[in-house]
């Protein structure tokens, strides 16, 4: 069985909506230092805690095998690296095609900050925006920080081939039940 891209999923039954995953995501990607005083930009997480009626759950990139965001990208700024879908943010022109293409709303355009200051385009006088989405914390040895941080263990990194095998095994048990004479 060919391996598929891993991705992080949230469990709506466990999630309490605390946004600790969002904070951790931003901190891990942008902040040097361990305390809130070191954050010098708005928080731009790469996953999005979303409430629908009574259920709260983070939404994040599925690292789709056929990544529509990558296919839609004008500048080829979105690409596959091994099994991850990544954005080369310097290439991004803010065209929004990826936003339209993504079935989950997992990509967002955010303003670029350098040393705590928003970068403004000279002629347009508006901030430079770039695509931002989950990169599975690929530079981090211990993997996605959201998974590690969640106080409710409501997030997990799914490895699809293992997921399938485990479910198949569970299914066997139910089939035995079906054929019990």
């Amino acid at each position: 069985m060919e391996k598929l891209s891993p991705f992080v999923v949230g469990d709506g039954e466990k999630c309490i909506g605390c946004k600790a995953c969002e904070v951790a995501c931003h901190v891990s990607h942008n902040v040097e230092g361990i305390t809130a005083g070191n954050i010098d930009t708005p928080v731009f997480p790469k996953l999005f805690v979303t409430r629908v009626e009574e259920v709260t759950m983070p939404v994040q990139c599925h690292h789709c095998e056929d990544a529509p965001c990558a296919q839609a990208c004008l500048e080829k700024a979105i690409y596959f690296e091994d099994d991850k879908v990544l954005i080369q943010t310097e290439k991004c022109k803010g065209c929004k095609d990826c936003l339209v293409a993504c079935p989950f709303g997992a990509v967002e355009l955010v303003p670029r900050f350098v040393k705590g200051k928003e970068v403004i385009q000279e002629n347009l006088g508006k901030p430079v925006l770039y695509g931002n989405k989950c990169d599975l914390c690929y530079t981090r040895e211990k993997g996605p920080i959201c998974v590690e941080t969640c106080p409710q263990q409501a997030l997990r990194l799914v490895e699809p081939h293992k997921e399938k095998k485990e479910k198949n095994k569970k299914a066997v048990a139910t089939i035995i039940g079906m054929f019990k004479k």
Binding site: M1, L4, C64, E65, P103, E163, K164, K170, V172
Partner: protein, 168 residues
């Protein structure tokens, strides 16, 4: 009331020979054994023979009436067609939601053909495009697999109820 049929394997009869997997691949690739072209075909059966310590049995899609895979699909790429739950590969973006939603691990993703698509969902489609129905059922040497049609199930329920009253 029921709309879909499904294939089920009997673990008491299954000997774990994987003939069903082979039959599945041949049926979906429309290739013949012993030919030259079969050598280049990737082995991607839509059912998986799962072996535990004491038994073996193929696991395949139950074509759930409430198909969670279809409900989970953001692209509406999984539909009810004929008596099966069917993947419209051209619509699939490979998000793996169906894989996550399926309770038995009957959906997986793979690369099919040479199109722009990378990997798309695939699962048992009851051999929708094969003339004489599910080939796994046809080829199983121990007759461990069978198709359960909706009307068969409905009839059997009624029978069982009748028996239950008689035996009470």
């Amino acid at each position: 009331m029921l709309d879909t049929a499904f294939v089920i394997g009997d673990p008491d009869l299954c000997i774990g020979c994987r003939t069903c997997e082979l039959a599945c691949v041949l049926a979906h690739t429309k290739k013949q054994l012993g030919t030259e072209e079969i050598k280049s075909v990737p082995f991607l059966p839509r059912l998986s023979v799962v072996k535990t310590e004491d038994i073996s049995v193929p696991i395949q899609c139950r074509q759930c009436e409430d198909a969670p895979c279809a409900e989970a699909c953001p692209e509406k790429a999984i539909v009810h067609r004929g008596q099966a739950i069917y993947v419209l590969a051209e619509k699939c973006v490979g998000c793996k939601n169906c894989l996550m939603a399926c309770p038995i691990g009957a959906v997986y993703l793979t690369r099919e053909g040479e199109g722009t698509c990378q990997k798309t969902a695939y699962k048992c489609d009851l051999c929708a495009e094969v003339a004489d129905g599910p080939q796994c059922v046809k080829k199983c040497p121990t007759k461990a697999l069978s198709v359960l049609l909706p009307e068969t199930i409905e009839a059997s329920i009624k029978d069982k109820r009748t028996n239950a009253v008689r035996n009470a």
